[in-house]
Symmetry: C2
DNA sequence: GTGTTTTCTGACCGGATGGTCAAATCTGAT
DNA sequence: ATCAGATTTGACCATCCGGTCAGAAAACAC
């Protein structure tokens, strides 16, 4: 058992700088498109010096993704089974949209990885993402069964929320090209998405008991 | 004015093979990630022979994207101002989802390009995409003003449709990882998306005239 | 100040990659 | 059959890129 040797200030500073630079470069160019020189430049280091802190390009990428996944899944974790269904989901949408606004590079890094077949994160996808989604989907299914939410497939509902919120980070240039100057996509998106999903999710006015189970 | 010299069968065949191979490789690896050797191999040609038909890697990519955009925008063009609003939009969603199912590589190629800042298609985005979207957004706005559609920002509505439908092509691996085996994402997505947007888009039961313009 | 450890750098390496070129081979029209 | 033009190829090149290494420089402990 070797003690985890304490980090010096220099180590901390440079590793942070490298990860920050790598996030910038990887998210904009993808793994294959990024070069160590670009990352080193941005971090203010020489390439060999960068490789003094990380053993390889892949290692940087792995650490970046690992740190990312936790933050990325957190909004879904917060979905509270004890809360008011529609408001819980709308709150989830708002959190996800905030993430998309405040951490667009992280979103694009993730998108890049998935697009290319997720060669480096198949594991976490099955081990962390799937169980969490299944768990929360069950919560949503419970709400639907109780007539507190419109009947919509929980898994696909979650997909829709991911898709619509991350769209504003991942497809930012397209959104801006279409809207033209003088628009703030995220600011406009928030009330729109809330309205869209509130309409779709709110249970029908008729009570659950009023609906015949089978109208033969 | 030089006559466009007629294409031989061999030219036609090889150019098609190259574009097909390039689509496969570019969509899976991105521009920088793709190599001419990969493309040549898949097309059944040698690298120099490939470069006999296209002057450069970039030229292949440009031609691919140019051909793509037309097909990609077609579903939106078909949105009929004379149709029934909700059904028109649902039909658009179905067409877009079909595209996502039948041409996932094209969707990913596009996504890759946008993700990386659209360096090669800024032009078409402004010259073709924006005018079309603005035009159709105006149609939708008209429907809303007539009370035939729920009041939702037309531009962002279109973004939502793009996001949710393309998600099944671009994030395919993630969707499959979450759903697990034994699911056909697209088949499940169709009724889900139709239900989601039908609920969100259908105008309220109360007639338009019943709603006070300003309730101060 | 001295010795030790950490940090940093220039020079270099091997393989991949986009692209060129001269020459060989094939095709089709006559 | 012949020949011009179209097609294909192997050999080659310059550059880029991830990574190594021996040693210089800086930081730190005493």
């Amino acid at each position: 058992m070797s003690q985890p040797r304490p980090k010096t200030r220099i180590q901390q500073k440079n590793q942070d700088a490298i990860l920050e630079a790598a996030l910038e470069v990887f998210s904009q160019a993808g793994f294959r498109g990024a070069t160590l020189d670009q990352i080193a430049d941005r971090a203010g280091l020489s390439k060999p010096n960068l490789l003094y802190y990380f053993p390889s390009k892949e290692a940087i990428h792995v650490q970046l993704i690992a740190g990312l996944l936790k933050v990325w899944l957190d909004p879904l974790r917060q979905l509270d089974p004890a809360g008011e269904p529609v408001e819980e989901i709308l709150a989830y949408i708002r959190r996800k949209l905030e993430l998309s606004r405040d951490f667009p590079r992280e979103s694009r890094l993730f998108a890049n990885e998935i697009l290319q077949g997720a060669p480096r994160i198949q594991g976490p996808l099955h081990d962390e993402l799937k169980p969490l989604v299944d768990d929360k989907a069950a919560v949503i299914a419970g709400w639907i069964a109780a007539g507190r939410l419109a009947p919509l497939d929980p898994h696909h509902l979650i997909f829709s929320i991911w898709a619509t919120t991350q769209h504003y980070a991942d497809f930012d240039v397209q959104v801006r090209a279409v809207l033209g100057p003088g628009h703030d996509p995220h600011t406009e998106a928030e009330p729109y998405l809330v309205a869209l999903f509130r309409r779709a999710l709110s249970p029908d006015a008729t009570t659950h008991a009023d609906i015949p189970v089978n109208s033969r």
